[in-house]
C-alpha cells in the first residue's frame, strides 16, 4: 500500500504512472475506435505519453539526452501523422467514409 508520504513526495514514479495511464488510453483508442483519424490521434496520445516519461527521466537523472530523444520522437510523430492522413484522404476518396474496415480493400 502506498503510504501518505509517497503520495505527498512527487517523484519520478508518479510521472511514470501518469505516462502509463495516458499510454493505456491511447491504446484503448487505437483498439476500439473505427475512424482512422481518431486512431491516428490515439497514436499521437501514446507518443506523447512516451515523451512525458522521457522528460521525467531526463529531469530526475539530470541528463539531457532524454530531451534530445523527445525532439526526434516529435519529428517522427509529425511525419507519421502526415503519411497517415494522406492514407485517410485516399480511403475517403474511394469509399466516402473513413472507416478502418476499408483499409484492407485499399489496393494501390
Amino acid at each position: 500500500m502506498p503510504s501518505i508520504e509517497s503520495l505527498n513526495q512527487i517523484g519520478l514514479n508518479h510521472y511514470l504512472a501518469l505516462s502509463a495511464i495516458i499510454f493505456s488510453f491511447g491504446m484503448i483508442g487505437v483498439l476500439m475506435r473505427k475512424n482512422v483519424i481518431v486512431m491516428l490521434m490515439s497514436i499521437e496520445l501514446m507518443l506523447n505519453a512516451v515523451n512525458l516519461s522521457f522528460i521525467a527521466f531526463s529531469n530526475f537523472t539530470a541528463n539531457l539526452n532524454g530531451q534530445i530523444m523527445v525532439f526526434f520522437v516529435m519529428t517522427i510523430a509529425a511525419a507519421e501523422a502526415g503519411v497517415g492522413l494522406a492514407i485517410a484522404v485516399m480511403i475517403y476518396k474511394k469509399f466516402k467514409e473513413i472507416n478502418i474496415r476499408y483499409f484492407e480493400q485499399l489496393r494501390g
Partner: protein
C-alpha cells in the same frame, strides 16, 4: 524551478487524464481533435515544470500548432458528422480490449512503484542554460541523426503528396 508540488501535480494529472479520456470517448472526431489540443497544452505545462522549457515551447508550436492544424484541416476536408457507431462491435471483445489496456497500465505502474533513479539527489533544477546545452548536443553529438531526420521529413512530404494526389490535378472532374 523544482518539479511540481503535490497539489499542482495532482491537478495537472487529473486534467490530463480527463482530456485524454475525452479524446477517445467523444463520438465526434472534431471534439476529439480539440480535446487532443487541450491534452497537448496541459502536457506542455508539465514539461515546463520538469525543467524542459524549450521542449514545452516546441510542444506548443509543433504539436498543438502544426500537427493539430493538419488533423483539423483533414477533418474539415471530409465533412464528418457525428458518428453513429464510433466504436467497434462486440461487447466481449471490447471488454477484452479495455482489460488488456488496463493490464498494461497496471503492470507498468506496478513496475514503476519501486523506481528510485536519483529521485531526490539529481535534478535539472539548478541548471539555468538547458536550451544552450540542448543546442550544443543536437549539433555535435546528434548531428547525424538530425540530418537523417531532415531527409525523412523531405521523403514524407513528397510521399504524402504522391499518395493523396488526384489524377488530373486539382481541376479534375469527378
Amino acid at each position: 524551478m523544482m518539479s511540481l508540488g503535490p497539489a499542482m501535480f495532482y491537478v495537472f494529472a487529473a486534467i490530463l487524464v480527463f482530456f485524454a479520456l475525452s479524446v477517445i470517448m467523444s463520438p465526434n472526431p472534431v471534439h476529439s481533435a480539440l480535446y487532443l489540443v487541450l491534452t497537448m497544452i496541459s502536457l506542455a505545462g508539465v514539461y515546463f515544470h520538469l525543467n524542459a522549457q524549450f521542449i514545452a515551447g516546441v510542444q506548443l508550436i509543433v504539436y498543438a500548432g502544426a500537427v493539430m492544424v493538419l488533423f483539423v484541416m483533414v477533418i474539415m476536408l471530409f465533412d464528418i458528422k457525428q458518428e453513429l457507431r464510433a466504436f467497434t462491435k462486440g461487447l466481449i471483445s471490447g471488454a477484452l480490449k479495455v482489460a488488456s489496456a488496463a493490464f498494461v497500465a497496471g503492470y507498468l505502474i506496478g513496475t514503476f512503484k519501486d523506481v528510485s533513479v536519483g529521485s531526490q539527489s539529481a535534478s535539472l533544477a539548478g541548471n539555468t542554460d538547458i536550451t544552450k546545452e540542448l543546442a550544443l548536443m543536437l549539433y555535435s553529438k546528434y548531428v547525424l541523426a538530425f540530418e537523417v531526420l531532415g531527409l525523412l521529413l523531405l521523403v514524407v512530404a513528397v510521399g504524402a503528396v504522391a499518395v493523396s494526389r488526384v489524377k488530373g490535378g486539382t481541376h479534375a472532374k469527378h
